[in-house]
Point group: C2
């Protein structure tokens, strides 16, 4: 998933690395229209580039993802989320992917997104607020910032590195979902956002934050929910609670 990529060659390089390592689903968020058209129509572009989906916002692009990992360096940011080095992040991705029975790495119910920011500034703190964790590739202090296409290649290489051997030998078995409860896995980004919306509505209803602070609070809330990683059952309970609170508030205001 590329957010506002600028250079068509980098978009092409990202797509090529995906083809090299067997990944299929490329999403582009808010691209610069001309550059995107140029990348898409390049000679020899892999099919997955032509099939890439374009979204206006990261929120839409991530709606169905259950594990969202941002990428970047730490030289200008102190994220609230967990910071993972690439080998650990890759192991986590593999353990989520191992849950699936489908041969494709990107089909199935749980969907992992790797999010790469634009060449100029990387992911913004708003972008990062949609991520469960931030992947950092260990580089030299003198030149920490990697080229976009190369960062994508290195991340996908690490995820597919020794995948079969490792998932058999070293990774702990992922917890089994409750039997008979198909919806008690990890909620996707859209579901988390519905809860965040309810909570924000509640905060507003109780005048918890001034109007000016609202967007900053929204961001902090998104981060919090992703750090907590509630499962779907938790989510349902929390949503039930906040709906109830909102209903009660409205009732007391005489609106119901």
């Amino acid at each position: 998933m590329l957010v506002s990529p600028r250079n068509p060659l980098n978009i092409g390089a990202a797509a090529r690395a995906m083809a090299n390592f067997g990944f299929q689903r490329l999403s582009i968020v808010a691209p610069f229209a001309v550059n995107w058209m140029e990348a898409k129509s390049a000679v020899g572009a892999p099919d997955l580039l032509r099939d890439a989906k374009v979204y206006e916002t990261l929120a839409e692009a991530l709606a169905h993802c259950t594990l969202v990992l941002g990428t970047g360096s730490l030289d200008r940011r102190r994220p609230a989320q967990e910071i993972l080095n690439l080998p650990d992040a890759a192991a986590q991705v593999r353990s989520v992917l191992a849950l699936r029975s489908a041969p494709s790495r990107e089909s199935g119910q749980s969907r992992v997104a790797l999010v790469f920011g634009s060449e100029k500034h990387g992911l913004t703190s708003d972008d990062l607020s949609w991520c469960h964790a931030l992947i950092v590739i260990e580089t030299c202090e003198a030149q920490p910032s990697m080229n976009l296409g190369q960062a994508v290649a290195v991340c996908l290489y690490e995820i597919s590195r020794n995948a079969s051997a490792e998932s058999a030998a070293r990774l702990p078995l992922p917890p089994q979902p409750d039997s008979g409860q198909p919806n008690s896995g990890q909620p996707n980004s859209e579901q988390l956002d519905r809860l965040a919306g309810l909570i924000e509505e509640t905060m507003e209803a109780v005048n918890y934050s001034t109007r000016g602070m609202r967007s900053a609070n929204g961001e902090a809330l998104r981060v919090l929910l992703r750090r907590l990683m509630p499962n779907e059952a938790d989510l349902r309970r929390m949503m039930g609670l906040f709906r109830r609170i909102l209903w009660q508030l409205a009732k007391r205001n005489g609106k119901v």
Copy 2:
């Protein structure tokens, strides 16, 4: 070490990956002059690109290297050398580099070269004949060929990956050189080539190969010497032997 790279952007990307992962010595063999000047003069090019050395032949570029690893896919070649997957090759590189006391990864007596071919065809069989082994990055069968800049990034990432932890915990200690014999380590490419020259001279002197076969035999010989990995003491003995043979042959022909 890049052999006849075509795209200035790829040369720049290779240099950037080197800067990212702390490597310093870039050599370019037989570049296309215009492309090379363009890459070298690009805005923001790292110092190591400006300091890169240019050679006419791979033989000259490798003269002082003791471990030479080619890179490529196996779809069009069946090399005689050992084929290493990237993690194993990286471990081998690290164990050689760990011998050195200098903080820089590229100074010191044993010098490791990673050789990348041109974008179009990769390394030729002649290029490969200078290599001790071929590194293959595991990729999808449908799209095995990686972009040059991305292949460089992935290789250097793997070499620097967990380098400190691994060299302490997992790698076997490299054999100590004989004490008091500073020249009994691994011979460099130039020394191996001197032996190869003597052997070829001998083959010619004994009419071992027809004139037409000579270049093919030379290539096979280079590969053989690199697979055997003689140390410097072995080399001195072998050279002594072949010098002796040649001298005796000449003597019998009445030339001495």
